[in-house]
Amino acid sequence: MSAADEAPVVIVGAGHGGGTLVGTLRQLGYEGPVVLIGSEPDAPYHRPPLSKKFHADELEDPLRPLEFYEEQGITLRLSEDVVAIDPEARTVRLGDDTELAYSTLVLATGAEPRRLPVPGGDLDGVVVLRTLADARVLKDAVHPDKRLVIVGAGYVGLEVAAVARSVGQQVTVLEREDRVLARVASPELSEILTGHHVAQGTEVLTSADVTGFAGDDDGHVRAVVLGDGREIPCDLALVGVGAIPRDELASAAGLTCDGGIVVDAATRTSDPHVLAIGDVTRRPVGNVEELVRMESIPSAMEQAKQAAHVIVGKDVPAADVPWFWSDQFDLKLKMAGLLRPGHAAVVRGDPTTGRFTVFHLDGDVIAAVESANAPKEFMAGKKYIRTRQRVDVTRLADEAVGLKDVVA
């Protein structure tokens, strides 16, 4: 055995993927040393509450109790950056210039919020949301007297809008595309959700081109500036225009990247000693040909499990149907499968009641499901996607027909 084989499994990124991986390794009986390195000061925690409960006590929700890492013999190194990988020597270099050897390296570096390259983007009060530290800023700024503008109507932006509105804040959502959630939801769901937000008093402006932020004399943002010259006054501007995979370490080390680290169905990168998991990866999903960046907890956890199996040399479990969730006002949304052009949308349930599902069909097979307050439809849909069950579309659209009776 070479020295490198006795070296620890080193995981870069102590987020949801990295945090899950260390536990799974021990569950699978891996007894060797494990080092989990993360830039953030906090041990791995749940990010969903950052946009759903940032006003509440439940904001801080660690993945595991702190004793966990010691009990499991995991070396947790927080507030530390890995700055380079040497794939030949099988070492990583840390911010303090020390080096650490690895037997297997797992990159779980996640993604970082995209910034808007416009004038005023660095003013005080122009913020992003990815970390607990970001959420605490938001929490302090949530106040009925303060106006909030959200740039970008993605899931995170709409969740924050819903919370802020529910505590009485004046909220405007600005979206460059002609509908909310343009990148991630169907036009049907976009329209229903827009109606819901507007009915709660949120101003939603689509096809809005943000060209800058205007500041006051103290360097604090006072308005968001649009391409047509309009200014939307605000006390805080949250920019939620997507996230960029943090693949810079990997690409500097010569690993194959393509807007994310390219991995196979077992999280292997182009280097035999390096795996990658979570938001930073571009991965195979279902039966679609192109690789996909998933950005969801179920995907990060699934890959963490795959990586652990690779490390201990066990068969890698098969991937499940991708899914994620979002909470907006009283709507608990759950989505599964992949939306692709050419699918036919079928709505089950009456959207005005707050319980409805949009099924997306490829012929008579369900390819994707988007549900609100409809867990049964979601679970049945996910199962039918997995089993490629043929369904009767007319019966599927009829809420009076039980979901076991929609199969063709």
Binding site: G23, R26, Q27, H46, P48, P49, D61, L63, R64, P65, F68, E71, Q72, I297, P298, M301, D320, W325, D327, K332, K334, A374, P375, K376, M379, A380, K382, K383, L403
Partner: protein, 106 residues
């Protein structure tokens, strides 16, 4: 502290102390027991914390809420005593509780 016995997917049993007020899911996650995944962190959204509540304890906990049962209903592994463990809070009244973790989640 109340103690809870988990029958794990490989058939082995683990009895652990769960801090009063935490859920059966929390106890599993804190002790790194295999089986329960808890993707959603306990917000009754994911159905990856499925357990069977054994014996009298099923009646003790009573029926799942409608939302919870809808999440369980379409699982291949569902049984009458199925529950989502993030919805089962453990207090001194549940000392001695026994649950079985199915082989597959989700």
């Amino acid at each position: 502290m109340p103690s809870v016995t988990y029958v794990l997917p490989d058939g082995s049993e683990q009895t652990i102390e769960v801090k009063s007020g935490l859920s059966v899911m929390d106890g599993s996650v804190a002790n790194n027991l295999p089986g329960i995944e808890a993707e959603c962190g306990g917000s009754c959204s994911c159905a990856t914390c499925h357990v069977y509540v054994e014996g009298e304890w099923a009646a003790h906990y009573g029926k799942a809420s409608e939302e919870e049962w809808e999440l369980l209903e379409f699982l291949d592994t569902v049984q009458e005593n199925s529950r989502l463990s993030c919805q089962l809070v453990v207090t001194d009244a549940e000392d001695g509780l026994k649950v079985t973790v199915p082989e597959e989640q989700g």
